[in-house]
């Protein structure tokens, strides 16, 4: 610790290659990790690049590695993560670094599309709106998935993504599971086919890092288990 009122913050500078730069930041009450990054950019080094938008845990823009763990920085209090008055902030794991703390999120979002995590309509705009029973089992299964804020914390936490960059990852697969369970979606077979390839749900080793690190306490591992179950059931159906 520098002194009682200050913390020592190591921040990643550069792209894929680079190094950590140390900053001395004044400790404040209820200070978040994002506050620290914003303070560094405003008062210590205006060239620091990082990404954020809502500051209240809704937009999923500000995820970074804090002391080696992926976190939503806007809702992470500094005093919760400080180790001996020190903190290390790095760009999200498993994604290409653009500069400093900003990663290229394209591979993450492209995999949502690859996993068929998109709407396949059953009706046209001229049809009446279909009534959905909120207590329906398939609808209840979706409850968790739709709370995802696309922050890529689970993607950064996943060791399977780290060792297999083709793997679609927890968020995209959880999205696919939500689409699969949507009674208003016509693409169920397309979803099952999309998650059955070389980067599909069967690569998941159920290590559970996604569920541990998800800032919204969601459980993508459970959604992936659902996809494994449905694809396995479908595997036999198509052959009988």
């Amino acid at each position: 610790m520098v002194d009682k009122n200050h913390i020592s913050v190591s921040v990643w500078r550069g792209g894929a290659t680079g190094s950590f730069q140390d900053f001395k930041v004044k400790l404040e009450d209820n200070q978040t990790v994002l506050d620290v990054v914003a303070w560094i950019q405003a008062y210590a080094d205006p060239t620091l690049s990082y990404r954020y938008a809502c500051r209240v845990g809704m937009c999923g823009s500000c995820a970074m590695m804090v002391n080696g763990s992926p976190r939503w920085t806007c809702r992470t209090h500094v005093n919760k993560v400080l180790v001996d008055g020190k903190m290390e902030i790095a760009p999200l794991r498993n994604l290409p670094v653009i500069k400093d703390l900003a990663t290229d999120m394209d591979p993450f979002f492209e995999k949502w599309v690859t996993a068929e995590g998109l709407h396949h309509p059953t009706k046209t705009r001229d049809d009446p709106i279909e009534a959905i029973d909120p207590s329906n089992a398939a609808r209840v299964e979706i409850n968790e998935g739709i709370e995802c804020i696309n922050c890529a914390v689970c993607y950064a936490a996943c060791d399977t993504v780290a060792s297999n960059l083709d793997y679609l990852g927890p968020a995209a697969l959880q999205r696919a599971w939500s689409v699969y369970n949507d009674s208003k979606d016509a693409g169920k077979q397309a979803v099952l086919d999309a998650v059955s390839g070389a980067g599909g749900c069967h690569n998941c080793h159920s290590m559970g890092s996604c569920a541990v690190h998800c800032p919204n306490d969601l459980n993508p591992m459970k959604a992936i288990a659902g996809l494994k179950r449905e694809t396995a059931r479908n595997f036999f159906k198509r052959r009988t």
């Binding site: 060792s163 297999n164 083709d166 390839g197 070389a198 069967h202 396995a232």
Partner: protein, 110 residues
């Protein structure tokens, strides 16, 4: 690099192996009561269609299961991809089949 087909092959081979493993271990514990000799084992297995089928199926299921498992390890830890990964996995499968079937033949042939 696990596809649905590989996943199913590995799960089904595991389902086949599970009871065979239990029976394999059970018979071993039962058979060594009161000592064990090579002649005693061969006396039980030689010419036995049952033990040929039992261990023949065991070897096939195990070879499939292990080759797919090793394929995942080679892909994720050693970074093997494409035809190199597939070639290696097929080689493991063939090697295990040859070694296993040779052993099955060795103890069941008369």
């Amino acid at each position: 690099m696990m596809t649905l087909r590989l996943y199913m092959a590995q799960r089904i081979s595991a389902l086949i192996m599970a009871p065979l493993v239990l029976m394999h271990i059970g018979v071993m514990i039962y058979a060594i009561q009161g000592g064990l000799s090579a002649a005693e084992i061969l006396g039980r297995t030689q010419g036995s269609a049952f033990w040929f089928l039992f261990y023949g199926i065991f070897v096939i299921a195990l070879s499939v299961h292990a080759a797919i498992g090793l394929r995942t390890v080679l892909s994720e830890w050693a970074g093997l991809r494409g035809s190199l990964l597939n070639g290696f996995s097929w080689a493991v499968l063939v090697l295990l089949l040859i070694l296993g079937m040779q052993a099955v033949y060795g103890v069941t042939a008369t």
